[in-house]
């Protein structure tokens, strides 16, 4: 069985602006695409992780004796076996590879077992004796900063203040609100998996489903106490990500077991372990105050935002910055006072998830805009349009929005769409409650809601954000072939398709092979923040330009379009590697939150139509329409897929999805109890795509993946409010919030 996905050579053609199929699609529909969980190696053994049952406890002792006696067990490892640094993390090195003397969340890794079969490993894990002294967990994000310190520096991970304009403004109309966002899970369908193979040079080769190979490599090498070149990562097939694979899961664990046993080690999480094995979306509590004139112009916004980072920091710092800097939404406001706090608690660790930080703020500021419209007696779309930012508007950070910001246009597009007819049939499947037969139409009220959102694209705050691409052209069997190689992770979004399209457009070569993504080439950056088409797309475009320059030299000044490249190249190979950066950003001023911190902004608007059974609190989303500016749709079909998929995840947060915790313990770690939208929950979408090119970006592109996840949730909740007249300040909205029972 192959260790890596087959090289991806497309049999279809198409440059940018067309919608060629995915090159990995043939293998995927045949069931032959190798996901990480499909990896196999001769002589491999299986790794398992013993996790803490307590959200907060001191480890008194660990006794491995009986576990080591189980036949078929090759190794049982603890923190004492971590060869290098035991602490890792994306922003702060605060998370132990294996717990030392304390566990800070339920599910924290304590020990590892390597065995001949997963069930042997499970039996051995049950024989590891860990004595815990259970401690009182810190679980309230609003008071955590003043509670028992869980880390040496206390429980405040980051505070971002924003101060712009007057700090004591007055307004004709003031609306206030307190909002809550529950903990959402990425719920990618393919659970975490990886295979570590010990190498003859003493290093290790790791085949892994991840979002960022090089940051994994750095963290694994540090934990193993090895130089980077001894730790080589190759991307295996990824079954979705959505932020949940940006942190390490079993990367170090599998390598430790492989190096210890000198055997290939496979680790696969099941769904329950997956819930404990990756970070989630930060739950949030958001206090807002909006002041406006009598004609609906915003005078000021004040907010205090709390984000629960859980036991370890992960990317909490970036989430805090996004919630703060995007905290007023896509509106012009002269006077802004925001304080955004990310804190440690003993809840599950939280980090990246699609729209990170912007999703939480978006629910609150859009709820406030509806409340303001209500207080003013204005139409909710009109009050938004009255305050909509445009190109040239100034953000609360002082940054000027220097490319298209068609906020009013997006709102008008969704508002002007025809409305779906009220169902006149008694088809239960179209009713709230569906075939549960809870209503035949009685008690059902329709509501319509709107929302618009803003998201930063790429990495911000002065981060050196770049990608590396290598493009090679050569003649194979008389045909000109291009190969493109990066370390940028394809997680399902379709980067491999976009890379092929760019190479075809730039070089005119039809046969384009995408090489497996690995760490033998430079950093591709993270598959997150809607950045890969922008940054890795930019790198591939630049590498193609370098190849074209070389070809032009070979052609001795002749116009390349008139040269037979097969003849020109002969047995020669042109092979260029380019590191490409987007324009630099600046850190935020730590006192005022001012600074040109973001690269680009993306915008989307939604209109939601819902039917609510107001007696039982059941909601049916009837239609969810979207308008989004994408700068330039390099693959229009793939763009629609991002908008539809992102909107569906926003629908999940609006009415169903929440990791429920109690005293720090997860109550619903399964797909039986953590519900994600099915085809019956997700309505048809009508989508308008604007292409207002950003002159700063390659091909004018604007990041696509996250904006639809921001505005989908508040639009649906606004529609439920319209149907019920309730305030509904928390997502997900549950039946009892509607019925009051």
């Amino acid at each position: 069985m192959s260790l890596t996905p087959a090289e991806l050579t497309s049999s279809v053609t198409g440059g940018i602006g067309t919608s060629p199929q995915r090159p990995d699609g043939n293998l995927k529909v045949r069931g032959e695409f190798a996901y990480a969980s499909d990896l196999w190696h001769e002589d491999m053994i299986w790794g398992s992780t013993l996790r803490s049952p307590h959200p907060y406890a001191r480890i008194v002792s660990i006794d491995l004796t009986e576990a080591l006696e189980v036949p078929g067990v090759y190794a049982v490892l603890t923190h004492e076996d971590v060869p290098g640094a035991n602490l890792y993390g994306l922003e702060h090195k605060d998370q132990p590879v294996l717990a030392v003397d304390v566990v800070r969340y339920q599910g924290e890794a304590v020990a590892l077992v390597g065995a001949d079969h997963p069930e042997t490993a499970t039996r051995a894990m049950k024989r590891i004796k860990v004595e815990y002294e259970v401690l009182e967990p810190v679980v309230d994000m609003e008071t955590a900063a003043d509670d028992t310190p869980l880390h040496p520096g206390g429980n405040l991970v980051r505070h971002v203040p924003i101060r712009r304009g007057g700090q004591a403004p007055t307004a004709d109309v003031v609306v206030t609100g307190r909002y809550e966002v529950g903990m959402q899970d990425q719920a990618f369908l393919g659970p975490e998996s990886g295979l570590a193979v010990p190498a003859e040079d003493g290093g290790v080769d790791l085949y892994i489903a991840t979002q960022w190979l090089h940051v994994d490599q750095g963290q694994v090498a540090s934990a193993l106490g090895m130089p980077l070149d001894k730790v080589r990562l190759t991307l295996s097939g990824v079954g979705g990500a959505f932020g949940g694979r940006e942190d390490l899961s079993m990367q170090v664990h599998a390598c430790m077991l492989a190096l210890h046993t000198r055997k290939p080690v496979k680790m696969v999480y099941n769904r329950e372990e997956s819930f404990y094995g990756h970070v989630h979306r930060h739950p949030a509590v958001l206090h807002y105050e909006h002041g406006a004139t009598n004609d609906g112009k915003l005078v000021y916004v004040k907010a205090r935002i709390f984000l629960d980072g859980g036991a370890y920091a992960s990317s909490t710092g970036a989430v805090v910055a996004n919630a703060a800097t995007l905290g007023v939404g896509p509106y012009e406001v002269d006077n802004v006072t925001i304080d955004c706090y990310g804190v440690y608690t003993n809840n599950p660790p939280c980090g990246a998830m699609r729209g990170f930080g912007a999703v939480q703020a978006g629910f609150a500021y859009e709820s406030q805009m509806d409340k303001l419209a209500d207080a003013l007696g204005m139409d909710p779309v009109d009050v938004r349009i009255a305050n909509a930012m445009t190109e040239g508007s100034v953000m609360p950070t002082g940054q000027v929005v220097d490319s298209a910001a068609p906020v009013a246009q997006l709102l008008k597009l969704v508002k002007d769409k025809p409305l779906p007819p009220v169902s006149t049939t008694l088809d239960l499947r179209s009713m709230p409650g569906g075939v549960s037969n809870t209503t035949h139409g009685e008690g059902v009220v329709r509501g319509i809601g709107y929302a618009v959102g803003i998201k930063n694209v790429c990495f911000s705050e002065g981060y050196d954000d770049y990608s590396t691409a290598r493009v090679r052209v050569q003649v194979i069997n008389g045909e000109l072939v291009a190969l493109a190689h990066t370390a940028a992770c394809e997680v399902g979004q379709g980067l491999v398709t976009i890379m092929q399209q760019i190479v075809r457009t730039e070089l005119g070569v039809q046969r384009v092979t995408i090489l497996p993504m690995d760490t033998s080439i430079g950093n591709g950056g993270s598959t997150s923040a809607s950045r890969q088409t922008y940054v890795t797309g930019g790198a591939v475009k630049a590498a193609c330009a370098a190849v074209r320059d070389k070809l032009a030299k070979l052609a001795g000044g002749r116009d390349l379009s008139e040269v037979d490249l097969v003849e020109l190249l002969g047995d020669d190979v042109v092979d260029e590697t380019v590191e490409w950066r987007h324009r630099a950003t600046e850190p935020l001023d730590p006192e005022t939150g001012q600074g040109n911190a973001h690269v680009q902004y993306g915008f989307a608007a939604h209109r939601a139509v819902v039917d609510v059974d107001v007696e039982l609190g059941l909601v049916k989303v009837v239609e969810l329409d979207c308008a989004q500016d994408v700068g330039n749709a390099l693959n229009p079909q793939a763009v629609l897929g991002q908008i539809q998929g992102g909107s569906a995840q926003g629908l999940g947060l609006a009415v169903m999805e929440e990791i429920q915790t109690s005293g720090g313990k997860v109550r619903n770690p399964s797909f039986t109890d953590y519900l994600i939208p099915t085809v019956l929950d997700m309505p048809p979408m009508s989508i308008d795509v604007l292409e207002l090119a950003d002159p700063n970006a390659p091909y004018g592109v604007r990041g696509v993946g996250e904006p639809p996840t921001i505005s989908s949730t508040p639009a649906i909740v606004a529609a439920i409010r319209a149907a019920t007249g309730l305030a509904l300040t928390r997502v997900p909205v549950r039946p009892e919030h509607i019925t009051g029972t």
């Binding site: 969980s37 399902g492 897929g641 399964s670």
Partner: protein
């Protein structure tokens, strides 16, 4: 370990399993066909769907031994050599997947629907794939692909492969 027989994609297999082995693990590890995926182990996501004695079943919720003597068809059985089944072609052409982890269930369920109901209406499509989760697409393209495949199944004879759209 207990010996059992299974006909997988038309091939008779004899495998040894533990009494507790799930059918999905037997297919993936003993038979060696990994197109059938493990998504949740609770029968919720449908990524482990196979056709068991002529009907779709979630193979994470079937003990392997209880399928002794049964015929199993997996996603790998859909294509006929180089020629994709119309549902495979429609899903690929129609951007009806991104990561693709849900595909074994989506494709086999869609095929089962079209085999029994060659021209399903949308309500029948929704009812059929309601037991299969997809986290990437938001389902709109999946419904369209099944619709497209039904048109394809009506118009394409086996000898005249579908044209790429």
């Amino acid at each position: 370990m207990t010996g059992m027989r299974l006909t997988v994609n038309g091939v008779d297999r004899e495998i040894d399993v533990d009494p507790s082995t799930l059918l999905v693990h037997a297919i993936r590890e003993q038979v060696g066909l990994t197109g059938t995926h493990v998504g949740c182990l609770t029968g919720d996501c449908g990524a482990c769907t196979v056709v068991l004695d002529g009907r779709t079943a979630k193979s994470c919720s079937v003990l392997a031994l209880s399928a002794d003597g049964s015929a199993v068809e997996t996603v790998e059985s859909l294509a006929d050599g180089d020629e994709l089944h119309p549902v495979q072609r429609a899903f690929w052409d129609g951007f009806a997947f991104q990561c693709g982890f849900c595909l074994p269930g989506m494709l086999l369920t869609a095929k089962e629907l079209l085999d029994s109901t060659p021209e399903p209406d949308d309500a029948q499509i929704l009812a059929a794939i309601n037991g299969n989760l997809c986290r990437c697409t938001g389902y709109n393209t999946i419904v369209s692909a099944v619709r497209q495949a039904s048109g394809c199944a009506r118009t394409c004879a086996k000898e005249t492969p579908c044209q790429e759209s």
